[in-house]
């Protein structure tokens, strides 16, 4: 098993380093270290606003969600096995031609990603905090316990995701029930207050039983064992569900949908047939449902956080419709990423179609898919919060931020968003270009009632700048991606 994991780790490292370069890839943990160091140094001030126990809860929640994202091997493995990565192939598919089982390679994938992402993110985070010790006086033992507990939360997320996604390979109904059960557990905590969050996140329960919260004792031991047991049970369950022989789901014969959709999209002019193909792809690949959940989930999480801060923590922050408008725009990036992951695009290389044309088609698809749902969300949240008075401003904020965010992402990452966001240079540009305007709009939105004239003026100024930036970046797509090929 160890040689398999070593081989898979090499494969993962080489795959990531081809996105930029080895040096740039190795910069990623350095950036995480520096970021964590900065957080450590400024923690005194941060902890004045948020109590340590809540900051730690958000950290565990983040580690858990990150694990959920990493561990969806059932979806990922199926994609590898169906060869939807063009000319690329991976060690995980080798059981098809070698005397080894898919269970073994899937377990290898799990161990590989656990090691890879702990080394890439969690370890640098801990190193950054350790480096801040001379300025903060944090105890090294507390940092060590934080590392241990964060690993438990990360692995619980990963294992749960592994189990649920392999369940999907067997039965969509069972998958739906499992997702419903997890959502119900979080609702029991967040909405009905009948389940403490430590019950769902044993890593957090373990952390609350360790310094600086308590002296190590039975609570930490029991929570640690519960976490370990949950991880082992989920991984074992997932491995039992991995089939011995992989057979892709055969789709039933399809009625010809493309010509009909093409005929209805006259408004898209030269992008018409490409856009029609995008919609057929999205429907048949099931990506629309994944996109819907990946868009709606953070929106629900955001609404819950805002509600929790206002009503749970009783912090008088003025979350209003304009704030939601800016946030909805920010989450649009997730959808653009999905649009690039539906299928390999090698076949475009043989057609008179350029990379910028396909990028623009994806942007159009994004607009068609999200405008309605984003508008509905902002209007809905405004109605629920009795905040319709600012809708006239919130809707343009939402629309302009969405278009800016997605055009900026397309400009920076082309058709390989997922890959390029691992390039620290691209990630740094993305962070600055995404966070600065969103932060500006968020801060301005909080002051809208205090000083309406100046605030609205400031927001309009930000929107004018974003519109101009959108136009510049949109025109820049040709220059930046015009010489690129689909098979690169």
């Amino acid at each position: 098993m160890s040689y398999l994991v070593r081989l898979m780790l090499k494969e993962e490292y080489r795959m990531h380093s081809t996105y930029s370069s080895r040096r740039m890839f190795l910069m990623f943990p350095v950036i995480v270290t520096l970021f964590s160091f900065a957080i450590g140094v400024t923690s005194q001030r941060l902890l004045e606003a948020t109590p340590l126990s809540e900051a730690i809860m958000f950290l565990h929640l983040s580690a858990f969600l990150y694990g959920l994202g990493v561990g969806a091997f059932g979806f990922l493995g199926a994609q590898y096995l169906e060869r939807r990565h063009g000319q690329r192939n991976y060690v995980v598919t080798m059981p098809a031609i070698l005397p080894m089982s898919f269970r073994r390679t899937f377990l290898g994938m799990y161990v590989r990603d656990a090691l890879f992402y702990i080394a890439l993110v969690l370890l640098p985070m801990v190193i950054g905090l350790t480096l801040s010790v001379p300025f903060t006086g944090f105890r090294l033992t507390s940092i060590g316990f934080l590392f241990l507990a964060a690993i438990v939360s990360f692995l619980v997320g990963m294992s749960l995701s592994f189990l649920v996604s392999t369940l999907y390979m067997r039965s969509r109904l069972a998958f739906g029930v499992a997702v419903g059960a997890i959502a119900a557990a979080f609702a029991a905590y967040g909405l009905f207050h009948i389940l403490p969050i430590e019950t769902i996140l044993p890593g957090l329960a373990m952390h609350y039983g360790l310094p600086p919260f308590a002296q190590p004792g039975t609570q930490a031991l029991v929570a640690g064992l519960a976490g370990g047991g949950l991880i082992a049970a989920c991984v074992a369950g997932a491995l039992l569900l991995v089939p011995d022989q992989y057979e892709p789901r055969s789709a039933p014969a399809e009625a010809e949908a493309l010509p009909g959709i093409d005929a209805r999209l006259g408004i898209a002019r030269e992008y018409r047939i490409l856009l029609a193909k995008e919609f057929v792809d999205l429907k048949r690949s099931g990506t629309v449902a994944k996109m819907f959940f990946s868009f709606v989930t953070p929106l629900i999480f955001l609404s819950f956080t805002a509600w929790f801060v206002r009503n749970g923590l009783r912090v008088p922050v003025g979350f209003n419709s304009v704030f939601y408008g800016a946030m909805v725009g920010f989450f649009g990036v997730l959808l653009y990423n999905w649009l690039n992951n539906v299928d390999a695009m090698d076949y475009y290389a043989t057609l008179p179609v350029s990379v910028p044309t396909v990028i623009r088609t994806k942007l159009l698809a994004f607009l068609v898919l999200t405008t309605g749902i984003s508008t509905a969300f902002v209007v809905g949240v405004s109605a629920l919060n009795n905040d319709m008075r600012l809708l006239w401003l919130a809707l343009p904020v939402m629309f302009i931020t969405s278009v800016y965010m997605v055009v900026m992402t397309a400009y920076l990452t082309g058709l390989r968003t997922n890959s390029f966001l691992f390039d620290p240079a691209v990630l740094a540009q993305f962070s600055v270009l995404a966070i600065l305007p969103d932060l500006g709009l968020t801060i301005l939105s909080f002051t809208v009632d205090r000083d309406p004239v100046y605030t609205v003026g400031g927001i309009i100024l930000v929107l004018v700048v974003l519109t101009a930036a959108t136009m510049v970046l949109y025109r820049g797509i040709d220059g930046k991606w015009g010489r690129h090929e689909f098979t690169e």
């Binding site: 399809e254 057929v280 043989t350």
Partner: protein, 238 residues
Amino acid sequence: MKVIEAHGLVKRYGPVTALDGVDLEVDSGEFFGLAGPNGAGKTTLLRILTGQLAPTGGEARVLGIDPARQPLRVKAAVGIVPEVESPPSYLTASEYLYFVGRVRQVPRLQEAIDRWLRFFDLEEARTTICRDLSKGTRQKLMLAAAFIHGPDLLFMDEPFINLDPIHQRRLKDFLLEYSAAGHTVFMCSHLLEIAEKLCDRVAIIDGGKIIAQGSIAEVRREDRDLETAFLRLVGERR
């Protein structure tokens, strides 16, 4: 009239030189074959000539167009059969031909789709999404997609691989008729027996360099067939 010209083409991938000063000319109406060992640079050369890849040095002209500067014009004018059969996973066979036809603005598209589906016996696959097609069926679909706009010049990378004998024969007959009608074919192939039967001229590439070029008789010289000549030419360099 020369439809393909390459002068001093070089392609480097980091420290690896895939093409090392390739000179090549193909006349209109010629059936031209490119043979070479694995990794010799055949696919790289075909991808540069069809605008799929930019050369590191040298220049090329295809139908008078520079593929490095105007790749879309080259792709619009020629038909390309790639090395890997990879039609879009979620379109049906018929939809893929519709898609290609619309991108290439093929007149009387439905007629053309029906013709090529019939030619390659793809009617049963008409409503099956490409992900669920067999390798050979996907290869036939990629061939149909390359022929659908009736190009004057075809670039094909191993077009016979994965095809059953019935469709190999059908494709050979079609390509001979196509060439006889004055159209040009540029084909990369390991199948030297087929190349010997079909091609007017061949080039042999090894280590990124053209080591022999000419009519079949000129390349074969004293050898009994093209395969023996190939083994001799490549063997001499090892």
